[in-house]
Point group: D4
């Protein structure tokens, strides 16, 4: 029930078509969010261009295909994360334009290519093994209508490679910083820029890396104050958060 | 805004005192729970006799006194948990009938002595050091209008003491079972009865007891299936949960 | 040796068929629980209708079939938890009426359909991935003779869906609340009702969800006081505990 | 050495005042960041209005006084976090306009009151005990030149209080969400808005709250995707991050 | 009710003083362990000479004094562990012969000096800081009637000191091995002897020693197979266990 | 070099066949344990009848076969732990008398059937799933020449089953107590006997059982003082320790 | 751009071929490490003979082959760690001289056999299962141009074996000490020598060994002060560190 | 018994003063390390100049004074770590030349000022709060006869400060790298040098820094391979290890 319907309810009472008691009764049984239309409208604007998303692990290729088919009915953009090649083949049956990004296992369908924000999102990653998570962030952020670039293999043990790319770092409005093992990269990057840095620990490493916990803890304890952290391997979540940051800097309608 | 007020709104429109637009506008700004009065009334019945509660740690005796004073204006029963003797003296200034239970540091003011449920709550504890937490549960459960009894010092290393009290165990409608160290008591007790057993781990122990974590984990892994667990040392929470169980067995109005 | 047998022992002494010494000797060697018949009878009433249960993991389909066959000799209702489709096929050989619930892997044989308690148990779950654990609770609670209903996919990040179902929540005598990831649902649900809420953490999530530990800890720290917790993924245990709560509110024979 | 100085170096060579060898030698010994002036200028703009900050624990009141005295020579705004009343008295000797916020122990000196960003930062907190951390965020964010408002005591166990404040939530450009115990608030808040939510776990709780670890883990596993997390009790860090987000949405000079 | 009483019960029935029904009734209400006298007698023999024990932390000197006074009524030997000098002074009021061992804080009253087992218990410890726990084991084991000797400061980083004492090691019937930090001593000692080694981790260390957890884990993973472990700092428990081992090798009465 | 050889060295010097310098030189290069023959002899007695043992995981059936073949050359008894059926078949090629115990995966070859100690070792276990570990202890303890009996399925949630077997418990000289989940059994058993109880946690359980860690911690915190603990699932180690305890009670040669 | 190029830049300005402005501009865009040529040269000397290294897990045999092919173009020595037999076969296609070490899964190609340091590196290991990690260290250290020897199977439970090899221990300039389970070996070894001991915990063990964490913690808490630790199973890292130690003792060019 | 004594033993036999049997007997009872004099002599050279060390926590000022007094009888250099000002005053009574370093609480008495190694040890630290641990390393390394310099406050969030000091970094033979919080500094430093880097995590930080555990884990997972780690806050241990590295590069006598 939107504002229009509520207005009609009062008008019906005004016109004598409905008793106040009957109208009050009907109002009681409304789901309460129906009253919040202004906010929902407002949200809709900000949410425009956000893809429907499927987390593939634990689903069969058939299930993924079917879910994507249904999503495409109302959403122009769809993202499947952590998918297999077999899943991608199934999805292409219902969407020939689906792109499969092999490193991250992301399947992206992008039919709405509007740019919903102008700030640049830069995805930085430390080691070669961190690239799948970084790529998941890149693919997702692009699908959400952001200008995205990336900078891979700039781990802190070879700090020179990072130092020569400061220009690119300082141009970004938001930085997503992906690292496993000791998770030191976000601290160094955040010290070089005046932008928010979203740190993504990865499960890369062995032994006392504890599947990403060490990197996660290191990032939470960053001595740089412009760092916030998402869950281990959560490239998609970092892209969502970065998109929110990026969009909130746009003039609102 | 209760049902009466909503009705008046519609009546005002009916009578032409308010345009439908103005009424719709006013409705938009209502806090949504105001529409849920029936449920709130229903809750009120079940919540009758629940004491207002103050968690004392981190507060000064003066603050405790002041909070209790204000609570007494609308609540007949008040409970202060983990209080000191000094706090109790301050509270007695505003409530001469306040009782201080020294072992648990509970201050209880009980002016509504209605019995809100008839089932017996039995509080069982393992070692002498567990008694403060057990007593907190006893005091709180009594203040909530339950018939309460207790059975202390029946730890599993002297299983005979527990076995001779099976009669009392089987009479209880709900059992609160308090234990530190290896936290084994709830499993044994739950195996002897056909009632829900609420397990309360205590921080009693040293070394690998990890301030109650060992007892907590043991209780969560109970091989008896009628055991559920609350937080470490949370005698008060166990009493609340037990009260809910006890009251839900009363005929509803 | 039941009460009758003890009486016969004394009568034998009375009649001179047995010396006091021989009778005392015989008594010494009795298993002690034989003396506790009254309590056991009492238990029997409360335990009526509880199914025999098999935890399937680690057993072969043949073993499951054989165990079920033997159980059916003395128990009308049998539950196999976390079973596979192959196990279900084997079980159907010995019980054509066995139902296989694919999401949770529960096999249920229900020949005693008596309703042992009248209060409604409501199973609420947060995300799609939590449904298998929720379903295990539903199937088990039904088999134990409770009226059961459920409410799925009402996670806290879309709080509106939950808010519109408050009516259903408030009708339940006991609520089982199933959630993975941040495990926030039980706190919100418990704040909306005046009934005991049994929280079941699930191993749903990745990275810092630590296979359900995060959800478990969150639930133990609920700011609502009518929450108690069972082990991770323990839908069956929650159903048992809820049944105990539900039955303890029935008039005793 | 800024661009001007480098230019002068080359001009000195051009004019024959310096040999190429001497110039090259002098260049070798420059700190390398001196070459990055464009970026530094750029940073300076974004960093304008950021206060100098002192973390008080482990320092004597005398040390705090002395550090603040020196900071005030070059920085108009100074913040001391987690200070005591005694420290505040010492600081007032060197800065009569210092404000002491007792709940958070923050000492704020604000002489540059420029508003460096226009977006609203909203600080939301769950329980009364979380207010000190929330207040630290509020004080810091204001000192950094942001419009700041707050919404306290809207914990998830009383979800109605939060639901009635959705208007305020949806107006914020960035939200800082502070909660201890089960740390559920950020998930609920993030589900109600389309803005980035910075989650701050607090060490509020006892037993299995593990001094904030439970809240931290819960927040990292939020089922809402617009949540990122900072360290336990780090109200100051959340304010810094929020300020970066807020400023990056301003038109750049 | 001992065997005598049960016999009298049957005799009363035999003599017609009691009906079988009344006797059966009376028997029902007996605590069940009263029937187990033979076993209890048997235990009594093995338990002879075991001191009554008080764990002092959390008690006032007055309470310790009072508890000891009461214990001395029925127990010739009394042990107070982790006591203070002030407590020792209070205890001496009621037992002039009380010995205070300052390093471990043990107060020992030994009036029954019977030697209950002949095997030698040897207490070995690694560093100087481990001596308090070792001494607690020595004092307790002596009070329990064992021949006890000790070997201190034979940590593994100076393996020569240990190697020169192999003679003493091989003479012991049971070894208690006390170590903090890396907890390596029990493995080395156990490799040198053919006796059971009871490992006691201590909370000695800092940083990643985690208050004894590292030593505890190391001992549980000993590559020697004649090692079993007790709780951190539990010198008393090790002495009890060693006494059981020592006594079980005595001919039974 | 045994005592004989050392004597010959001195005799050679005495007889002038060797200069003191040459003899001293030769002595310098001796492995030092060669001097310790008396102790080694002594050990040999206690070690008689201890089987050579192979830990099978990570080895191929061929490797197991080959290792066993070589062991049989000098050791009459051989034990292979955690082996597969295929490994057992291979071992039977070299030892037709090898017994395969399927539950625990133990392969036992027993050619020396001497009874090296007379005390009874009793292996007690809690649930059905704990039997493999219990059986490993039984098989190993028998192979080491102990009289062994067992008592399975006496978990604490059905305490009656345990209580009726107290006679067997009290006859044991050493008890090995095997339990997973909450690990409560050793505390109850140890409270019923006056013998040393060796607790073996098992990895049985799920969720917060953490593969045996919960049971391990519970056992370390036993409120009974005659309990010591070995590593998770370490039935073999418990058998070794129990054998040492049992043998140390034999008269020494 | 090396020093020469910078000099040319200044000379160009001196000679009027370049304006100061253009020269300053060009300088701005230089990667900053180009200025650090002296240090890089210096590094090159120390890095001579270090092999290019591939961590095989997660790569296909084809990828490993391709990576090795490219590495061999500029590096005489190449190491592949944790490789399979299949990978080794592929690598031999491009390098017939590749050696496959089956225990550690190391593939070594050594074409530069220069000895870059003269000090002896000794690799010591505790149990048979630790040999793969030890061998990885041996192979890597040899490839890096060190004289390497090893000493296996000298675990602390049979301390005699270690004691007889003290001569070899004391000859080493650096010791790499590999152990799993309780990780006690480095403490004992370090106590016997006056050389740096690099401790490598292995994931050998089960239950409370927590895949090497126990050994890691034990080593970090070594009571010997000449011990430093690398990550679990990191034989390669230990070899690198040992090489650095060994080379830093060579006279510098 | 040194070589001389052994020789005398053989001479006594040669001269007929002792029978071979008596001599063999006497030899049996020698502590075995007495035979190892050559090695001990060798050690002595490497150990020359190592100070006697007292770990002050848990000791009274009187005890520290007394221990130092005794140590000075045979050792020219003495170090007291983590001492208080009061302890320093007591030590000055027995050693007027004692130096008290207030930041680290180190008391140093240095009477042997020989330089035992020529390589430079550089101590690098991240934040101001890490200086006490760094200073402990500096003081200890100097007392052990090394040339020592330091570089403080070069945390990774301000990477420029570190980059400008690369010259100093590359001159060091060994680097001790001290950092708390995210512990990222050793990775960056190790990437800039070709020397061994000993990483010292500090307990600096709050919340998820877990008193240094986060820094410790990060350092163990360093992506640079020339990093090894010591215990949290163990500045002294790092100095010892660095000294061993430094001395092992000296020509041996």
């Amino acid at each position: 029930m939107n504002k229009q319907q509520i207005l009609q309810l009062f008008e019906a009472v005004q016109k004598g078509k409905l008793t106040p008691e009957a109208a009050a009764e009907r109002l009681q049984h409304l789901p309460d969010e129906d009253l919040g239309f202004a906010k929902i409208d407002h949200h809709r604007v900000l949410r425009q261009g956000m893809p429907e998303t499927v987390y593939a692990p634990g689903k069969t290729p058939e299930q993924v295909e079917e879910i994507v088919r249904r999503m495409l009915r109302h959403s122009p953009n769809v993202l499947v994360t952590r998918a297999t090649r077999v899943m991608a083949a199934r999805v292409k049956r219902v969407a020939k334009d689906a792109q499969f990004h092999t490193l991250s296992g992301s399947i992206a369908i992008r039919r709405d290519t509007t740019q919903y924000a102008r700030g640049a999102i830069l995805v930085v990653s430390a080691g070669t093994s961190d690239i799948p998570v970084a790529e998941e962030a890149v693919v997702a952020a692009e699908l959400m209508g952001n200008p995205v670039s990336h900078l891979y293999d700039v781990g802190v043990a070879g700090i020179h490679r990072l130092m020569t790319r400061r220009e690119e770092l300082s141009k970004a409005r938001v930085i997503i910083c992906v690292a496993g093992m000791e998770g030191a990269l976000p601290s160094v990057v955040a010290g070089l820029v005046a932008a928010p840095v979203i740190a993504v620990p990865t499960s890369v490493g062995y032994g006392a890396s504890f599947k990403g916990v060490t990197a996660l803890l290191a990032m939470l304890n960053s001595c740089a104050s412009n760092v916030a952290v998402v869950n281990i391997d959560n490239g998609f979540g970092a892209a969502c958060f970065a998109t929110m940051v990026n969009r909130c800097s746009e003039p609102r309608p």
